[in-house]
Amino acid sequence: MKSNIRGTRAPRWLVLAAACMSLGMSASPVATAEDAAPAQPAAPAQQLKGVDQDVQALKKELVDLNRDLFKLEEELLYPASTQVAVFLSVDVGTFFALDSVTLKVDDKEVAHYLYTEREVQALHRGGVQKLYLGNVKAGPHEIVAFFTGKGPHDRDYRRGATLNFDKDVGAKYVELRISDRQESLEPEFVVRQWE
């Protein structure tokens, strides 16, 4: 992965430079055409379209480059051998209105997140939030998540869920899932590992 990113960085810069050069080259004739030949509107329009396409291509290259740099940064700061990532998702969630989540790793608070209405709506629509990304040593660890919000009958509701796991060489992904338990008409809070 790393070598892949490194391999693509130099060509992207070259592509960007080439795109900038092509922009510069195509932009100057537009100005000349507008100044010198206003009687031929078709040619400048085509050139403008070309410039627009170049700009769009340049934007795409920048987005790709930004994504690659982000990946590279993440791999350097959180190598797979120590990485643990915690995600949060909501399935239905009619029995629980989420207000906040507090996350502890090995009894140390690592994240506390207050959710706005818009964020809760996004989770209800299937969004998955990356709540925490950090490093832990290889070996046994404990994750505890506390969920706060409004439960059935609009009562204040606070529940905890725990996961004990062993960190090995690969990155560890953990999902906190809020779902509805139809049998008891209560919310259910599950912490599980992604394989």
């Binding site: 207000d99 706005t116 209405e117």
Partner: protein, 160 residues
């Protein structure tokens, strides 16, 4: 002498007034308002926002809050989003003061004063004008009524 100057040079940046800085992005935060809703500053991108820090013991703050309330009640096209941030440790106290002033905008409660530290509040009231892109466009510190100046700046921003 040299050591003292060096130490001063190292310590000064830590003590210096650092935020909010005009033309820099406003630090994002999320706080609970007095009705229990969580509000995040970045969710107001696209709107002109006036952020005002206050406390119940601050006399000039009450005057500013009352004037900002009038600003928030302006016709919808011209009215900015006004957010008051109470630095009182007690949410009930903040709510009762906000109710007594009949504020027409949300009052956020910064009981732990974490957002106050984020914005380096040293004097109250502190009022910050934030443009549609989330960039700080003006800061007023310790002035009881920046509203006329604020209204002019908001008009300028909205006409851009």
């Amino acid at each position: 002498m040299l050591a003292a100057a060096l130490a001063g040079a190292l310590i000064y940046p830590l003590l210096a007034h650092s935020a909010p800085v005009v033309r820099k992005p406003a630090p994002d935060f999320v706080l609970k308002d007095t009705t229990g809703h969580n509000l995040r500053l970045s969710e107001y991108r696209g709107d002109t926002v006036v952020l005002s820090f206050w406390a119940s013991w601050c006399g000039p703050c009450r005057e500013t809050m009352a004037q900002l309330s009038e600003l928030a009640a302006a016709p919808a096209v011209e009215a900015p989003v006004v957010l008051g941030v109470s630095l009182d440790g007690d949410a009930d106290l903040a709510a009762s003061v906000a109710a007594s002033l009949s504020l027409k905008f949300p009052t956020l409660v910064d009981a732990k004063q974490s957002v106050g530290r984020l914005y380096d509040v040293e004097q109250l009231p502190l009022t910050v004008l934030i443009d549609r892109d989330g960039v700080v466009r003006g800061v007023w510190v310790g002035e009881s009524a920046p509203v006329p100046d604020l209204a002019r700046r908001i008009k300028e921003l909205q006409s851009q």
